[in-house]
Symmetry: C2
Subunit: 346 residues, 2 copies
Amino acid sequence: MSSTGPVISERVSMQDGAGGRAMRSLVEEIFLPGFESDQEGVIGLSAMDDGAAIRLGDRWLVLTTDSHVVHPIFFPGGDIGRLAIAGTVNDLAVMGATRVLGLTCAAIIEEGLPKTILRRIQRSIREACAEAGTSIVTGDTKVMGRGELDGIILNTSGIGMCERVVSDAGLHPGDRIIVTGSLGDHGMAVMAVRHELELDGDLESDVMPINDLIDAALRVGGSGIVAMKDPTRGGVASALHEMATKSHVGIVIAEVCLPVRAAVRSASELLGIDPLRIANEGKALLGVRPDRAADVLDALRHHPKGRDAAIIGECFAERAGSVVLDTGFGRRLLTEADGEPLPRIC
Amino acid sequence: MSSTGPVISERVSMQDGAGGRAMRSLVEEIFLPGFESDQEGVIGLSAMDDGAAIRLGDRWLVLTTDSHVVHPIFFPGGDIGRLAIAGTVNDLAVMGATRVLGLTCAAIIEEGLPKTILRRIQRSIREACAEAGTSIVTGDTKVMGRGELDGIILNTSGIGMCERVVSDAGLHPGDRIIVTGSLGDHGMAVMAVRHELELDGDLESDVMPINDLIDAALRVGGSGIVAMKDPTRGGVASALHEMATKSHVGIVIAEVCLPVRAAVRSASELLGIDPLRIANEGKALLGVRPDRAADVLDALRHHPKGRDAAIIGECFAERAGSVVLDTGFGRRLLTEADGEPLPRIC
């Protein structure tokens, strides 16, 4: 690898891992070829959803994987262990698999890491598993030398089961968009620590498994819940863009309806980061048929993890694939980020 | 973290990731607590097997995970992509799940890595998947900054299905130990590149998915195949120790029967590394009832991937938990390595 090598676009950049358009291009251009044609009864890689689904008799087995590289490892409201469990459980849940059969945990550890740190992480993995009603069933441990890796990486994969898979592509004109709680908490909490921001309000990550919350919504909403996605990397903006594009609808979001905590709003102004473009780790976006929206919202709000749930938008046949923000004074396109160059927030 | 911090044993060392006794201690001491009691119908973390098994009706779903951190990324006979697929497929296969339902692939990439390298890796992932009759069904991409990660890490998880789970703990006195081919090829090929050894013979990694080979053995051996394990990190010595300890038998191995290629033998003498203690990535150890051993060996040898298969040892009631090497001149204990400090060979 010489430093006067290929042009810049021919090297992987931080944006390529940030959950936006750049990452999707990288995956489509490099990882997808040869895996486009899924077997029968499989929702696979080409669906570019939060996970895969494999038909087993009259049910679906849902499978997902995530690597977690957050820095710092411990942050207000959580740590890399809780993040790993919540991330994987929530990816299963938004595909409809709220019953988690088991999780894997693969740790890659930097040589010299104090074992006390591993013990703290393991404890929070255990607690998050208990909260999600599941367990680590198998794992892997690798150690890399100093200078080869900074800290620790956790990869978690998970399998769940359900009767109906909910994709992120099922929206129709008229459907309502519901978010299960406040926006931007995780990303802003991590960024504040990294920028050593001193804030008045409490800035805490929302990291939590929400399979129980989604289960409560599905019990009430049934097949009226037509699409789900968790707005992690790239935030709500990226997630809605993906849903709108895949569903061939336009989405209009009302800014006044967006649940954003005061502390997050302040930090976002200080840091110049839009809360719609930063990761959430305990939230989901639901697309719901108009006649079921009020009941689903009610069910969410009666759940301890869904008190701040809100209907934030609606789907239209016009402007398919785009997301429009209604500010109250006018409307503007919420462009899809190429991928914010924010390393290691999840 | 001050440099005059905790005593050395309280920090993670390279040995802790090398597949030997040190790694098992780390896992038992830190990762296992709280996950000892498996749910009913689940073979979970406490079994410390190559994967987990979950009962689904009258069948078993087998789940496994592995991270791959090999350096160099490309080595004689393969690369990190082929290694990842083979490693995960073989972990499923040695638990009896030779039919692979799907694999996940999570890539963690260093910023600046040329995309041509990713394309080469993806191609070999695709080829290895085709060879194993499976596919990548979902994935994840993260990018870490320069100085945070050296190169690329792949994590692959996999699910498979079978009617009967084969554990690594099912050996009885009298059972024969069969290895499916030559020993030490992968580890020695990688170490030779890293030491820039110039050798006469061809030193090539054995990395390949062998679910088809194991399926051929199971078709002939049936329930007469009572234990399986793939001798990756820590090599045959570690794998046999684990099988002997869990099965409460002693294992005697005949040195003269061990299939070791001439090039591996030469390299092992030059480098001072025992071929029994270094990783294989396309081999399995089978414990077979004495009356089925000849037929299983025959089935293996008639398969293109099993031509060098050999019966290498036998199980005894005496010296439970130990492995003895019969050199032809006498017998000596094959001690379990604490974990060779060989970073990044798989």
